[in-house]
């Protein structure tokens, strides 16, 4: 099915108590909590693996003068030490997947310079420490601030880096109220629980070379293509398996060096090779979200109607890479204004490779923009919600097409009512013991993409249904929602649905990422089930009109048949495919939401602690209220981290990430997340996909941190524009306030 028109009525409609949407427990939950769900590193399918360990460059820029691997080679249990001199030939870079151990040049700290394989993990790690590199060290360029003047327009990938409409400069100059502010966000790391891990097995047989990788990867078909390119194989000879994934958040959208190195080592050794990055290696060897500098200029008339919006963003990535943080893209569709400008610039620095992290672009773009809106509201003396309502666009302000659905205003109103927004005090006026207390809000918006995806379903002779596709479940609940969709379509309970995903041997699927996973894979499954329904009706000689699949039977008119009977001795199979179509161009599609946060700021120490938080979202049809809520809360917690603590610090002298472990890179602990809730307003989006759903994985992080930061402003009167809002910045702000107060007296 190509999504060329609104879907119309579907079998999922009109069933408020139907299986889809029901908050059922994860069907894979028991396997996970009992330790029987085998993650990549734990699989026992590939026998007798050797263990690999990545050796990282200890400098960020320069050349390897010599690499002494003699001690490592002699170390107990060592089978192979692979370096730039011994690595097998590789193919071409694809997207952000780079051939490994290529030459002597070091472009970033942590760049793999060798791969040690031994009989045990401990032996491999110990031998890796014996590799001695002698470098010609050059001074790295590692400061985005310093590189800003020379940053360049990135190559347009899927997203054009710049946009312009009307006359921004003229309108900004003429505006009666203006705001011109600069925000910065730090390097952030995904910190997913399961590290990057792969067991690779290379087989050279009579029909050529093949490789199988059990690997932690969010998008298996994309990974298959890129690994095939780098490894010099045909995609059909590269198989990726990823049944269970312990979080991704974008870190596993593309294969990382450990996958390539283990495949190459397996090729050399003709034996499976397994490897996991250590937590410390995750920071340098794998990807991160770039720091950003963002300039926002707003012009408004005295009533608060925006006349001019500009949002410019600078980010960085490693030399040779083109990834840029699309911070200002969300600004193209969020609020109305005649005159608009967005711009992205990229600096290639001697820092590790930057890539997508949960809501790439929007997450940090809205950290800045939604605070700028709060600043403007204050300048205008208008409530922040009212300011947003006054700038609600009738259609997408840049694409000039209607929104498929847009309930931002409803989300803000519902949230305000539930949160008690009317109790928000004037800036700096609320005190609770030692705490200065404040409330803040922010809007949330995240693009809703649809990706091509395929699925197969098979009605088995025993009346169970097998669902297959190369989809992944990164902890979001994909297994469960697929079972719910298939069950609802076929009138079967989830116990009779077998969901088999996570293998490129199955039909190509979208994978998990970019808020497209559930909608794309679920829609392919919907189409496959629809086709299966048609086949079964034909086989049973039943009229399609008015046919109902329920309780393991199909009924049409006064005739009925069980699915078990219709399956026959061979079973019945059907396939389905979804592709984006005209709806993508004809409608602007986004999930929306509104965040509300209350914080306390310790009046002496400047410590900021969240007190409560609420998110209200719309994301079309909710496929499972429980997993959706969990995902939304998870996104909001990401926002808390981004606002208050998450920051990878770069030592610009050396180009390395200083706090590269989870002791000193802080993410919220339980105590940082008190009363928190997420609710969804009813919505169906018939332009989005056949499920009428939208992606929920990312909208919940968008704006979440800004709501927290706005609450800090409401509590203290401080506007801290450099994330995260750590206590030292609060103390600095107070010192400046006191300085100003003294100057006045």
């Amino acid at each position: 099915m190509d999504m060329n028109q609104p879907i119309g009525a579907t079998p999922l409609d009109g069933k408020p108590d139907g299986l889809v949407g029901r908050p059922i427990d994860r069907i894979d939950g028991r396997l996970k909590v009992t330790g029987r769900a085998a993650y990549a590193y734990e699989t026992r399918e590939l026998k007798n693996p050797a263990y690999g360990f990545v050796v990282e460059a200890g400098i960020a820029r320069g050349r390897i003068r010599s690499l002494d691997v003699s001690a490592a080679k002699r170390a107990p249990g060592v089978l192979l030490v692979m370096t730039h001199e011994t690595v097998p030939d590789q193919g071409e870079k694809k997207e952000q997947v780079f051939p490994q151990l290529q030459g002597r040049e070091i472009r970033f700290h942590g760049q793999p310079i060798a791969f040690v394989v031994a009989q045990s993990f401990e032996q491999a790690r110990a031998a890796a420490a014996l590799v001695r590199a002698d470098y010609e060290v050059q001074t790295p360029d590692a400061s985005l601030k310093a590189a800003r003047p020379t940053a360049v327009e990135p190559k347009p990938a899927q997203t054009p880096p710049d946009s312009q409409l009307g006359d921004f400069d003229g309108a900004f100059a003429a505006a009666s109220v203006t705001l011109d502010v600069e925000y910065t966000t730090p390097v952030q790391i995904h910190a997913q629980m399961e590290p990057h891990a792969t067991i690779a097995s290379w087989e050279s047989g009579p029909d050529g070379e093949r490789v199988t990788l059990y690997t932690a990867n969010q998008m298996l078909n994309r990974g298959q293509t890129s690994l095939a390119s780098v490894l010099g194989l045909k995609p059909e000879n590269v198989r990726l398996v990823s049944h269970y994934i312990g979080g991704g958040f974008g870190a596993k959208l593309q294969p990382q060096p450990e996958a390539i190195l283990s495949a190459l080592a397996s090729k050399s050794l003709q034996r499976p090779v397994k490897v996991a990055l250590t937590r410390q290696q995750e920071f340098h060897v794998a990807t991160h979200r770039s720091d950003t500098i963002q300039c926002i200029r707003l012009g408004a008339d005295p009533t608060g109607r925006l006349t001019a919006i500009a949002h410019e963003s600078w980010s960085a990535t490693a030399p040779g890479d083109v990834f840029f943080e699309t911070s200002a893209v969300v600004t193209r569709s969020l609020y109305a204004a005649q005159n608009r400008l967005t711009r992205h610039r990229l600096a290639n620095l001697n820092v590790p490779i930057a890539s997508a992290m949960r809501a790439p672009g929007e997450a940090v773009g809205q950290l800045a923009f939604e605070c700028a809106m709060d600043e403007l509201a204050e300048r205008l003396g208008i409530d922040p919600i009212e300011l947003r309502i006054r700038n609600e666009p009738e259609q997408d302000p840049e694409k000039k097409v209607p929104f498929s659905t847009r309930q931002l205003v409803a989300c803000m109103r519902e949230g305000a009512q539930r949160f008690g927004w009317d109790r928000r005090g004037p800036t700096g006026a609320t005190r609770d013991g030692r705490w200065q207390v404040g409330m803040g809000m922010a809007a949330a918006s995240r693009l809703n993409p649809l990706m091509p995806s395929q699925a197969s379903v098979r009605l088995n002779p025993d009346g169970t249904l097998t669902v297959r596709m190369a989809m992944t479940d990164i902890g979001t609940g994909t297994y469960t929602i697929l079972a719910q969709i298939a069950g609802a379509m076929m009138g079967l309970p989830v116990e009779r649905i077998r969901v088999e995903i996570g293998d490129t041997a199955y039909p190509k699927a979208a994978g998990s990422g970019g808020s497209f996973g559930a909608g794309s894979a679920g829609s392919a499954l919907y189409v496959a089930c629809d086709n299966l329904r048609t086949s079964l009706l034909q086989a049973a000689g039943l009229t399609a009109e008015g046919a109902v699949f329920a309780d393991g039977r199909v009924t049409s008119g006064n005739r009925s048949a069980t699915l078990t009977d219709l399956a026959g001795a061979q079973g019945v199979e059907a396939k389905g495919e979804i592709k984006p179509g005209a709806m993508k161009e004809q409608f602007s599609q986004h999930a929306f939401g509104a965040h509300f946060a209350e914080v306390g700021v310790d009046a002496e120490t400047g410590e900021i602690r969240l007190r409560r938080m609420l998110g209200v979202f719309t994301g079309g049809r909710i496929l499972n209220q429980k997993t959706a809520r969990s995902q939304a809360i998870g996104g909001m917690i990401f926002g808390i981290g981004a606002a208050l603590m998450e920051s990878v610090e770069t030592d610009t002298r050396t180009g390395h990430f200083v706090n590269h472990d989870l002791a000193e890179y802080h993410i919220p602990a339980h105590a940082d997340v008190p009363a928190i809730d997420a609710v969804f307003l009813p919505e169906l989006d018939d332009k989005a996909n056949p499920l009428k759903s939208k992606g929920l994985g990312e909208v919940s992080i968008c704006g979440a941190g800004a709501a927290v930061a706005n609450a800090v402003h409401n509590a203290t009167g401080l506007r801290i524009r450099d994330y995260p809002l750590t206590l030292d910045k609060v103390l600095e702000g107070w010192a400046a306030q006191e300085g100003r107060a003294q100057r006045r007296t």
Partner: protein, 324 residues
């Protein structure tokens, strides 16, 4: 991790003797810090001497009315001990402010005394560090040094002691009991136990080779309000930016009758300045006390905030104590 020999002696004396006999030997108890350091090859002991089975896990009353805490008493058990909760609340509070439940279940009293700095550069074997590799230099100076020292630092090292427990022990004037390989026992005052970095930051305590901590003793309880205020970058599971262990006996009005104040997060050892305590008692002014306390304080850039933060934390803690 480098391969190592493993020994599990049955007696304290055997443990100390083994430590003296074997080159590059380390005692291991909870292992919550040492194992991480071994994985990163920051610690590379040739022999691990497992002391977990030694009879050092008791908490007993002393004849003087104090408390003797065995070296192997776990942090969680110590924090929950009725006498600690009643008479040495500052210690219970400090322990509970540290690490996580799981770590506190494992970590021991002696191990906590010996836990090593969290300096990022100490943990990174690709960077110079005089503590890890004497003579290689200090990368933290001039680098990102948010968690580093503002007091008592040297040109060689600006690391801090990360322990919460040690700060409370300093306020309580604890004494560390040891046994040496010859079987001689020794008592070391907590004030003398941890060292400043000077030009030998690799030497962190007064312990001699092979010397084994057997117990920590506390003098009889000090009357007053016991507080432990830990200022940190998240609500739990974070090392202190600044912490203060305070025992304050209320006096007339705003002036305490007696005050003991020890600080964490500021230096290579728990920081206590008796003159600051005296100033607080004499003047009733926390800011006066802070002036004395912070004499010679010097920020390193990213940790400059610790100086005003210490002043503010002291003020807030004294106010809390007087209100309590």
């Amino acid at each position: 991790m480098k391969a190592f020999a493993y020994e599990r002696p049955a007696t304290v004396q055997d443990a100390a003797r083994l430590a003296a006999e074997r080159p590059e030997a380390r005692f291991i108890a909870g292992g919550t810090n040492l194992l991480d350091l071994m994985k990163l090859q920051i610690e590379t002991p040739a022999t691990l001497i497992d002391v977990n089975r030694l009879p050092l896990a008791e908490v007993t009353d002393t004849a003087e009315g104090g408390l003797r805490i065995g070296a192997l008493v776990r942090n969680a058990d110590l924090a929950a001990h009725p006498r600690v909760r009643r008479d040495y609340a500052v210690l219970a509070k400090a322990l509970l402010a540290g690490a996580s439940g799981q770590l506190r279940n494992r970590a021991t009293t002696a191990g906590n005394l010996l836990q090593r700095t969290r300096c990022y550069y100490f943990y990174d074997t690709t960077k110079p560090c005089n503590k890890r590799a004497p003579g290689s230099g200090c990368a933290a100076i001039g680098g990102f040094n948010r968690i580093m020292a503002v007091l008592g630092a040297s040109e060689a090292c600006i690391a801090t002691n990360p322990s919460d427990m040690n700060v409370a022990l300093r306020a309580l004037d604890a004494t560390i009991e040891t046994v040496d390989p010859q079987g001689a026992s020794r008592r070391i005052a907590i004030a003398a136990f941890h060292r400043l970095p000077g030009d030998t930051p690799q030497i962190e305590t007064d312990l001699r080779p092979g010397e084994l901590i057997t117990a920590v003793t506390l003098p009889k309880p000090v009357e007053g309000v016991h507080l432990y205020r830990k200022v940190r970058d998240r609500a739990s599971y974070a090392f202190a930016t600044v912490s203060v262990a305070a025992i304050i006996a209320k006096g007339e009005g705003d002036r305490p009758q007696r005050a003991t104040l020890a600080f964490g997060g500021l230096a290579h050892k728990p920081w206590r300045v008796e003159a600051a305590e005296a100033a607080l008692v004499e003047t009733g002014s926390a800011d006066e006390a802070a002036e004395r306390l912070l004499e010679g304080a010097r920020g390193q850039g990213s940790n400059d905030f610790k100086i005003p933060l210490t002043r503010r934390t002291l003020r807030a803690t004294v106010a809390d104590a007087l209100r309590a």
